[in-house]
Subunit: 162 residues, 2 copies
Amino acid sequence: MAGPRQGEQVLPFDPGQRAVDGVTFIGRIRSPWVAGAAPRNLVQARESGQRATVQLDPAYIPALDGLEAGQPVILLYWMDKAPRNIVVQAPRHVDGTRGTFALRSPARPNPIALAVVILQEIDRDAGLLTIDAIDCHDDTPLLDIKPWKASIDVPPGWRPDG
Amino acid sequence: MAGPRQGEQVLPFDPGQRAVDGVTFIGRIRSPWVAGAAPRNLVQARESGQRATVQLDPAYIPALDGLEAGQPVILLYWMDKAPRNIVVQAPRHVDGTRGTFALRSPARPNPIALAVVILQEIDRDAGLLTIDAIDCHDDTPLLDIKPWKASIDVPPGWRPDG
């Protein structure tokens, strides 16, 4: 891991060493992306036209009941390679610095990433879900799948442009 | 904790006992809601007109830089009272049963809840954020704050009704 870039601020402790409860991995995200060659965000991943899959651990297959192909879902996944102690960052695509909570960077006290994706196919027997796109590396640990709901997941008053 | 309701399915193990990495708490959500009297979801919470606050741990205050009052943010929080071993649930507001991944119930293998809220005021010195609404109990542990971005957080092709 490289040292901090100009202007970055790190905590005097590692939040990972102050864990008070634990996450379990419920499966793995299989993506076309290897370290160093991943898209910068979900928009770029979608533009690539590359699908991805989710391989669920068999114990969790019954938890898929009620999900349907075509619906949007929220995936939460664990960016286990990211540093957890950076509170102010200097991302390459931003002038100057910005606080971690103003960024979607994987480097954060709890390295939980979130993507809203379209569930394209469900192979229940295999515990295998096909999704339209993802921006994380192959084999990223999965934490959760939630149905995306416009009534709660679109901020009040938001309207698309145009 | 009451036993399972009709049709519910539980795992033969507790996912909390199979933790492979840890979460740290970066602050607490202060809400008007006590156990047994919380709104059912964020829509109901918003309709109540009750605001809430987020009290951030001082170490994380620099991570707020770049957030602005008025913007929507995603809060991730830890539902530490919820059972983690239920894969098929029988919610009171649903006929029959549904898989955990088709529900926004706090009961899930990793009890991470997600709310898209409006950041109304930022008191940086105090590490105190005012938000328009939240559906969780007072003192719920906070895991993360992320900026909400329409370009990635609205599913492709989605348009509001009407």
